[in-house]
């Protein structure tokens, strides 16, 4: 059966229709692939999808239908098509991190997050384009070429989870997975006009996520509305014996909390929301500033007490991040040597050459740059001045968050990005590109949860507002986001 308005239906709505028997899983899979064809999501079009297999997805849909028939019910995501960033291990489809060095690699196991979503009925339909090994802010660093923003194909999707964000925005899937190291879910979510969530460090298992910077990496959710994002996050979260940094803190209650307040005219009554001046610098796009102020007014009208707060270490976050993340990456990416995975140079005649030629031919320019930078800051003579110093300043940044949340602030509100989506090829200086993460990296460094949701448009391009909460404060974060989304209504997309 064809599905009317498939591209605007939520995961919750689709799942309800599949669960009731109004649709079968094969209908949603077919609608997803048909939409991808209609918007030219493949390599010769928007270049959002790297790998997909309609027959495989339809087989999964058939298995799901059989399982539902036996169980007499569907899961919370019954028949919901899911797109997955290409650095998260899935069965049946390649996992290449959009890198030549992992060409042809198909994982022998699946990420815990994917297993949990499949258990609730989600069907993986595509692996999405990304910056190579998640190193980038525009999805231009992919070995397979840049992804294009569905709102303006001459502009970037943001990154590094740009393909996932754009696939949701283009209506191909209602939910997608991305990964965060410094803002790689929230920044493309803002550029593509969707919701993107980075959970608390340890909230979602990293098992099956190809490591970039292990003290920062987290799998995140992307959706067209807050409710779908919260539902997906609830399902994925929780302790996993395969990730020793995953937390045993209780999961859930996100949706219950905001649903219980849905009819309350002041659903944020009793909440204190901080607005840090450091996230509103003088050179912030005036249109983005204006939309943020409109959102702050909305938060007040929803019953929240909004106060100014200080986060004085914020300007140091980019220098800290671009020492810590490349340092960890230089270690994590040492495993790609031509022996165990993917691409192997045929030019080598010694083992040492096999490593160095394979890595030099297999990694792209940005990955090479970051490996060299990371190796440099960890090398003898520079470790104390760069890496150790950056870790100490990281502790000060974390203290900033501890201080405001310790003072009774329930959440922070900021812009997600300093600009809207920029033109493809428009930024060539590496450090200028790094600055597009200036409002997002702080949450990764401190390990706190944060999300972006649409708050309006500037020049026809989407703008994201960011909500940051204390460690394991996802329930408060979603409560604020759901209320703000409801209050802004269609204005969030205008």
């Amino acid at each position: 059966m064809s599905i009317t308005n498939f591209g605007s239906l939520s995961a919750v709505a689709l799942s309800a229709r599949v669960g009731s028997g109004d649709l079968v899983p094969a209908d949603t899979v077919a609608a997803s692939f048909d939409t991808a064809d209609a918007v030219s999501a493949g390599r010769d079009g928007l270049n959002l999808i790297l790998w997909s297999n309609r027959e495989l997805a339809l087989r999964d849909a058939s298995s799901l239908a059989e399982g539902m028939a036996k169980a007499g019910k569907g899961g919370l995501l019954a028949g919901v098509p899911l797109a997955v960033k290409d650095n998260i291990a899935t069965l049946g489809l390649p996992t290449t991190c959009a890198s030549k060095i992992l060409a042809g690699y198909v994982s022998p196991y699946e990420a815990t997050a994917i297993i949990r979503l499949r258990e609730e009925g989600a069907i993986v339909v595509a692996k999405t384009n990304m910056d190579e090994f998640a190193m980038g802010s525009s999805t231009e660093n992919s070995a397979y070429g840049p992804a294009h923003n569905p709102h303006d194909v001459r502009r970037v999707t943001g990154g590094s989870s740009g393909g996932s964000a754009a696939a949701v925005a283009a209506g191909i899937v209602p939910i997608a997975l991305g990964s965060e190291t410094g803002g790689s879910v929230r920044q493309p979510a803002a550029f593509c006009g969707i919701v993107g969530v980075k959970p608390t460090y340890g909230r979602v298992s990293r098992h099956g996520l190809v490591a970039f910077a292990s003290s920062l990496d987290q799998i995140g959710t992307m959706a067209r509305n807050v409710d779908d994002a919260a539902l997906t996050m609830e399902i994925m979260s929780g302790l996993d014996p395969f990730d020793s940094t995953s937390s045993s803190a209780p999961v859930g209650g996100y949706r219950d909390q905001y649903m219980s307040l849905a009819t309350n005219p002041a659903p944020l009554e009793g909440m204190k929301i901080g607005v840090p001046a450091e996230y509103f610098p003088e050179n912030l796009d005036p249109g983005i500033r204006q939309l943020c102020l409109r959102s702050v007014d909305a938060l007040k009208s929803l019953g929240a007490k909004v106060i100014d707060v200080k986060m004085p270490q914020t300007p140091l976050a980019i220098p800290v991040y671009y020492i810590v993340a490349p340092a960890e990456a230089s270690s994590n990416l040492a495993r790609f040597d031509g022996v165990r995975y993917g691409f192997r140079s045929e030019e080598a005649s010694t083992l040492s050459e096999l490593y160095s030629i394979t890595r030099s031919e297999g990694f792209g320019p940005e990955v090479t740059r970051r490996i060299l930078l990371g190796t440099y800051v960890l090398s003898a003579g520079y470790y104390d001045a760069y890496y150790k110093k950056a870790q100490a300043v990281r502790a000060l940044i974390t203290r900033d968050f501890g201080a405001v949340f310790g003072d009774g602030v329930d959440a922070l509100f900021t812009p997600t990005t300093p600009t809207t989506a920029f033109p493809i090829g428009g930024i060539t200086d590496p450090y200028e590109m790094y600055l597009s993460d200036i409002f997002t990296v702080t949450a990764n460094l401190a390990g706190v949860p944060a999300m972006s949701l649409p708050i309006g448009r500037v020049g026809g391009l989407p703008v994201g507002g960011q909500i940051i909460a204390p460690h394991f404060g996802e329930a408060a974060m979603f409560r604020v986001a759901y209320a703000l989304e409801s209050a802004l209504g269609q204005e969030a997309h205008q």
């Binding site: 069965l91 198909v106 022998p108 196991y109 699946e110 460090y201 340890g202 003290s215 302790l239 014996p241 395969f242 020793s244 940094t245 937390s247 045993s248 803190a249 300007p315 140091l316 980019i318 220098p319 671009y322 020492i323 040492a334 031509g338 022996v339 192997r344 005649s349 010694t350 083992l351 096999l354 490593y355 160095s356 030629i357 890595r359 030099s360 990694f363 740059r369 490996i371 060299l372 930078l373 190796t375 440099y376 090398s379 520079y382 001045a385 760069y386 110093k389 950056a390 870790q391 100490a392 300043v393 990281r394 502790a395 000060l396 974390t398 200086d429 590496p430 450090y431 790094y434 390990g447």
Partner: protein
Amino acid sequence: MAVTHEDVRHVATLARLEVDDARLDHLVTELNGILAHMDALAEVDTREVEQAEFAPKVGTPVRSDASGPLKMYAPLESFAPASRDGFVLVHRLSTHEDSENRAP
């Protein structure tokens, strides 16, 4: 602390990357450009920051040793071009002994 050509060659060796001369100049310029922004950290007083603060506040949970090995969804042989006696055969190089007896 300016990065020199020799520094880049040195870290490239450590990182097992080959950097040709044409790329070397470019990398020296790029890395110096990036690291110049990092110099701001040197001005920050971090004397009272304890080493323990570097670690995440959320401790690593203790778990039993009961967890079994990772479940593989297909036999090992299906992931490698060749295997023998349960081991994956890797590419044979000229530096290996007995290079006449080449793996397939």
